[in-house]
C-alpha cells in the first residue's frame, strides 16, 4: 500500500515533467493553446456580433408590416442622414462628446501629472484608489445622486448661494443652448455629470503615459534653456499624447454611447444612445438602431485617424 503511493508520486512528476518538456519544445503550439479561448471569444463572439450589427444596419424596415426585410440596402442610412431630427441627435451627441473629452483632458492633466511625477509612493497609491473609488459604486446610483445634487433645491445650488456665486449660476443657466430651468435639467448639468463619470478613464491612461516620460528629458529641456511653459508644450505634452489619445477614446466613446445620463439628467433633447435604446426597444426598428450604433464607431475611427496624423502615436 505504502509502496504503491511512493511510486505513484514520482510517476506523476515524471509525467508532468514530460509534459513541460513537450510544451517547451513546441512553444508555438503552446502559445496557440493558450490563445485559443481568448481568440475564440474575440473572433466569434465579439467581432461576430459587431459584424451582425453592421449587417443589420444595411437592412431596412418595411413601413407597413413593421418587419425587418433581410435585403442589403442603404435605405436606413439615407433615413439616418437625411432626417433633420436624426442629424440633430448625432450633432448634439458629438458636441457633448467633444466638450466632455476636452474638459476631462484639462482637468485630468494636472492630477495625472502630480500622480506620475510628484506624489510620494503613499500619496500615489492614495490617488490611484481615490480615482478608481467612484467606479466601485453603482453607476445608476451615481447618476441619480447627481440629479439630486444638481436640482434646484439641491446642495450645489445651496452651496453656491452660501458663497455668493448664485449670480454666476443664474448667468450660466440663462445662457442659450447650455442653460435651462435648473442644472439638473440643462445640458450644462449633463456635461458636469458626464465629466464626473468619465474622468477616471482619462486620468489613468494619462498618468501611465506621463510616468513613462523620463525625468531626465524634462531636466534636459530646462537645462537647454526652456522655461516650464516651453517644456510643457515642447516635451511633456507631445510625449503624453498617446495617453491623452487613449483617454480621449474612452471619454469620447463612452459619451457617444451612453443613454442613461441623458435620460436622467439634462435637457429633453435625444442622444445617440437613447435613440439606439428606443429604436430597438419600443420602436422595434432594429436596422435604424444598428445604423445609429455604427455612428460612434465611424466617429471614433475618424478621430483615431486624425490623432495618428497629428503624430499622437509616434512616441509609442
Amino acid at each position: 500500500m505504502t509502496s504503491a503511493v511512493a511510486t505513484a508520486v514520482p510517476e506523476f512528476r515524471r509525467w508532468a515533467r514530460g509534459l513541460s518538456t513537450f510544451f517547451y519544445r513546441r512553444s508555438t503550439f503552446y502559445l496557440l493553446l493558450l490563445l485559443l479561448p481568448p481568440l475564440l471569444w474575440l473572433g466569434t463572439v465579439y467581432l461576430g456580433s459587431l459584424f451582425a450589427l453592421l449587417l443589420q444596419s444595411f437592412y431596412a424596415i418595411d413601413e407597413f408590416t413593421a418587419t425587418v426585410v433581410p435585403k442589403l440596402t442603404l435605405e436606413t442610412y439615407r433615413q439616418l442622414i437625411t432626417h433633420p431630427a436624426n442629424v440633430d441627435i448625432i450633432l448634439r451627441t458629438l458636441a457633448m462628446a467633444i466638450a466632455v473629452t476636452l474638459a476631462c483632458a484639462v482637468i485630468a492633466f494636472p492630477v495625472a501629472n502630480y500622480m506620475a511625477r510628484y506624489a510620494s509612493p503613499r500619496m500615489k497609491a492614495f490617488f490611484y484608489v481615490g480615482v478608481m473609488l467612484p467606479m466601485w459604486t453603482s453607476y445608476l446610483v451615481k447618476v441619480y445622486a447627481w440629479r439630486l445634487i444638481l436640482a434646484k433645491q439641491g446642495i450645489l445650488n445651496w452651496g453656491l448661494t452660501v458663497v455668493g456665486l448664485d449670480g454666476a449660476l443664474e448667468t450660466a443657466l440663462t445662457t442659450p443652448v447650455i442653460g435651462g430651468p435648473s442644472l439638473a435639467s440643462s445640458y450644462l448639468g449633463m456635461f458636469i455629470v458626464f465629466v464626473y463619470m468619465w474622468l477616471p478613464f482619462m486620468i489613468l491612461p494619462l498618468a501611465a503615459a506621463l510616468e513613462r516620460v523620463p525625468q531626465s528629458l524634462i531636466q534636459a529641456s530646462a537645462d537647454l534653456g526652456a522655461r516650464p511653459r516651453q517644456t510643457f508644450w515642447g516635451v511633456v505634452l507631445p510625449l503624453a499624447l498617446p495617453g491623452l489619445a487613449a483617454g480621449s477614446v474612452f471619454t469620447f466613446s463612452l459619451t457617444l454611447g451612453d443613454y442613461i445620463i441623458p435620460s436622467v439628467v439634462g435637457a429633453p433633447g435625444y442622444f445617440i444612445g437613447m435613440m439606439v435604446y428606443q429604436q430597438q426597444g419600443t420602436a422595434g426598428n432594429i436596422p435604424l438602431a444598428a445604423a445609429f450604433s455604427v455612428v460612434p464607431i465611424v466617429l471614433i475611427a475618424i478621430y483615431l485617424m486624425l490623432a495618428k496624423r497629428m503624430g499622437a502615436f509616434d512616441a509609442l
Binding site: 534636459a220 537647454l224 510625449l239
Partner: protein, 340 residues
Amino acid sequence: MPSAIEFQHVSRQFGTLRAVDDVNLSVEAGEFFALLGPSGSGKTTCLRLIAGFEQPNSGKVLLNGADVTGVPPYDRNVNTVFQDYALFPHMNVAENVAYGLRVRGAPIEEQRQRAAEMLALVQLESFGDRAPTQLSGGQKQRVALARALINRPAVLLLDEPLGALDLKLREAMQIELKNLQRKLKITFVYVTHDQGEALSMADRVAVFDRGRIEQLDTPRGLYMRPRTAFVARFVGGANVIEHELARRLTGFARTFAIRPEMMSFYSTTSTVTDGVISCAATVIDVQYHGATSRWQVRTEDGSVLAVVRPEPGVRGDSYAVGNKVRIVWPRDQMVMLEQS
C-alpha cells in the same frame, strides 16, 4: 578673473542623508575638472547643484563670480550631457541639437545652420534626419554632446557620459572629449566613478567620499601623494599598510601606502639591502593581465597586499599560489597617510 564655478560651504541633504556635506571648491575657467568617487559619494549631486536641478540646503553656488543659488537651470549658462543621453524621442537628431536655440527663439535659419555645425563638430553631419532610436550608443552620446554645446555654455557638465559604452569606444571617446575641450576652451566638469578615466582626462580631480571632498589635486598628485587611505585605495589601488604592521616593518606606527607596481619579489634566502622594506608572505592568487600580472599575497599577520610585476619576473622566475615569497619595496616610495 573669477572662478568658473565656486562652492562655498555647500550642503545638500536628502532626509537624514548628507549627500553633499560642507563642500568648498573652485573650478577655473577652461579647466577639465573631474568629480571622482564611488556611487553615493555625492559627486552627481554636486553636478546637479551646478546645473540647478538641485538647490543647496546651505551654502552658496557661484558661476563666474555671480551667486546663482536659487537660480533655475534655464537661467544658467551651463549645459549638461546626461548619463542616459536624454535625447527627445519625438524629435529627430537635428531637432534635438537645435532645441536649445529654438527655445531661445533663434531664427530658423540660424537654428538649422548651427545644428549642422554642431553635428559636424561631432562627426555626425549626415545623421540630422535620423530618429534617436536609430542611433548606436556612441552616436547618441555625440548627439547629446552636440545638443549641449549649441548654446555655447561657459561650463559643460558631463554625468558619467561614457558609462554605457563598451571599452574600445570609451577609450576613443575619452581622447575625443579631451581634444574637444582643448579646442573649445570650455570648462568641463566630468563626473565619473572610473579613476582611470579621471586620471587620464582631467586637469584636476576632486575625490569624493560620503559627501565630502577627500582630496583635490592633479591626477599626478593624487596618484603619487594620496592624502588618505581612501584616496590611496580608490585612485591608485595602492596597498595601505595599517599602523600595527607598519610599526613592525618600519618602526613607526604610522599608516602608509605603497603602490603595487613598486613592490617586487625576493627569494626568501637572499639578504635585504638598506633602504628597502621587506616582508614575508604567501601567494594566494595570481591574475594574468598580459603585460603585467597581479599577485595577491598574505603577510604573516593576515594583511592582503597586491604586487604588480611584468611576467615572467626579471630572473625568469614566477610565483604560483601557495609559494612562500619575500616582498620588498623601496623606503622612499612609501607615502605616509593622514589618519582619517
